[in-house]
């Protein structure tokens, strides 16, 4: 339960960084924190107290393996989610570089040419 609460606190930190910061690089960092809060939550959902890593060796008994390991599915999901997060972050950072070249600033208020 504490762990769940902590992931939601981390989620809040990321959201704050994303929405309240004016520096776009800090917004990017907020988004990364947000991403990882969800990833942690996913891993926590699959955690079963006292069980081992879901690595099945040849010859392991299926029932014993299922009862003795944590849920492997969220871990697979988190791997996918990390890869997606990496792609999005790369694109974001490339945009930050381009915006800095155009406007010479990272402050979102000084580059705001779009309204609405």
């Amino acid at each position: 339960m504490t762990f769940y609460a902590l992931t939601f606190a981390l989620f809040g930190v990321g959201l704050y960084g994303l929405l309240a910061k004016r520096n776009i690089l800090k917004k990017v960092l907020g988004l990364i924190i947000l991403d990882h809060a969800i990833n942690l939550l996913l891993v926590a959902v699959g955690y079963r107290a006292g069980r081992g890593a879901p690595i099945r060796l040849p010859g392991d008994d299926t029932t014993a393996f299922v009862l003795g390991s944590v849920d492997p599915l969220p871990q697979a999901l988190v791997l996918t989610s990390i890869v997606i997060g990496l792609g999005v972050t790369m694109l974001l950072v490339a945009m930050v570089v381009r915006l800095h070249q155009r406007y010479g600033t990272l402050d979102v208020d000084q580059m705001d040419r779009l309204k609405g």
């Binding site: 917004k27 991403d35 969800i38 381009r98 915006l99 406007y103 779009l114």
Partner: protein, 511 residues
Amino acid sequence: METSVPAFVALPLFAGFACLLLKRAAPDATPWISVGSMLGLLALAAIATARGDGGVAFAGGWGLRGAGADAFVVGIALVLDGLSRLFLLLVAVVGTASSIYALRYLAPEAGRPLFHVLFNVLVAGMNGALLAGDLFNLYVFVEVASVASYGLVAYRAGGTEVEAAFKYLVLGTLASTAILLGTTVLYAATGYLNMADLSAGIARGEVPRIPLLFASGLFVLGFGTKTAAMPFHAWLPDAHPSAPAPISAMLSGLLIKTLGIYALVRVFSVVVGIDDHVRTTLTVLGCLSMWGGVLLAQAQDDLKRILAFHSVSQMGYVLIAIALDTWLGVAAGLFHAMNHALFKSALFLSSGSLEEVTGTRRLSGMGGVFQRAPATSVGLVGACLSISGIPPFNGFWSKLLILIALVSAGQMLVAVLAAGAALMTLVTFVKVQRKALFGTLPARLADAREVPAAMYLPVLALVVLCLLSGLLWPVGVDGVIGAAASAVRAPFGERPAAAVYVETIHGEPPR
């Protein structure tokens, strides 16, 4: 038949990689690869629609495990049903028109092969989202399509474009995060990701009330942002006009529907179920979008921004219709989504042509274009009549059906609001036509020239489709729409659609 299901995703994905490989060797071939892959998808979608194909394909050799009531799905299921078929057909039609338009619209510049890479990946992501049979793969394909669209919005790489793309990316990723969080909550409560198993689990009451409401709220936030429903719309009026015209057509015509409307219908009507809270929320969002979009559009001078705000407004109609959760409401909403895909992509392609002809996107800089570019103008007039809901065109019929569905569900106030917003839409587009096409030709446009045929023919074809689906909708269109609506909400007390969906995946009636 079931083996053709993965081709909807594989074909554009391979076409995208082919464009990447040919980036240096044959850059001029890449636009034709896009046209080819879109025509291939059009053939696949037309065959699937004509035969009424349905079924499931499991990726990677996994599939159904267990038997009877204990059966569950392992692996990635791609599910084709009536609802997916309608949207796959729309993606193919608008994709074909946009890819043909892009042949002449984009000059052979260094970035063009990369444009076509992203174009194909965008289509692959949308088709994947339409076929995904579980929530996590829905999220993955939504992200694939979204990331491609972020890149395409920034294609011109000017300050405004990158800024619009940045804003779009931040809000889009926030929406995707909400979708993933909602998925996590449902997985934690049930242990299922597959939508059929999940809907059966929720129907059995496996998810407590609070987590279910929390997940519903997250899905409304996530998919509502992808639809650009009113309080979450801020990215759309910047992002859609910043993209090149064929991409504006793809984004406004398709992306907000496949990632927004389709996903909302699939997740709420089939999996989570629409309860009173969700219905009220979607109706309020819909009314806000309808009026907010149309009012903000009045203040704009930039043609593409006017069109973008009208996308927000038209999605409001679809939201209030699908929120009714009756067969007629869903059918009317899906019909309007289909019509909007046709006329809004025609409008955005015309706006690109007008920009080519006049050199500006500002309405105040245009005038009398009809004299110089009659084919473009005829296309624009047809699309304007369609979005304003003038009788023989399809926009009239779907708005009428939405009003009938609202009245028969007793939602009089919402029906009055919808009718009022339709009138405001008419006012805007009369203004657009008068300012852009008629009146006096500015001296600076005296030697303006019509765009090449590859640019006006796709628009005219879309307008003809608007007219045909308006005139012929009782003949064939209603079958496609009806099949889509029946996949969501069973007409007249037949078996619930969620059970049909479970059956599609499990291959037998669940006991």
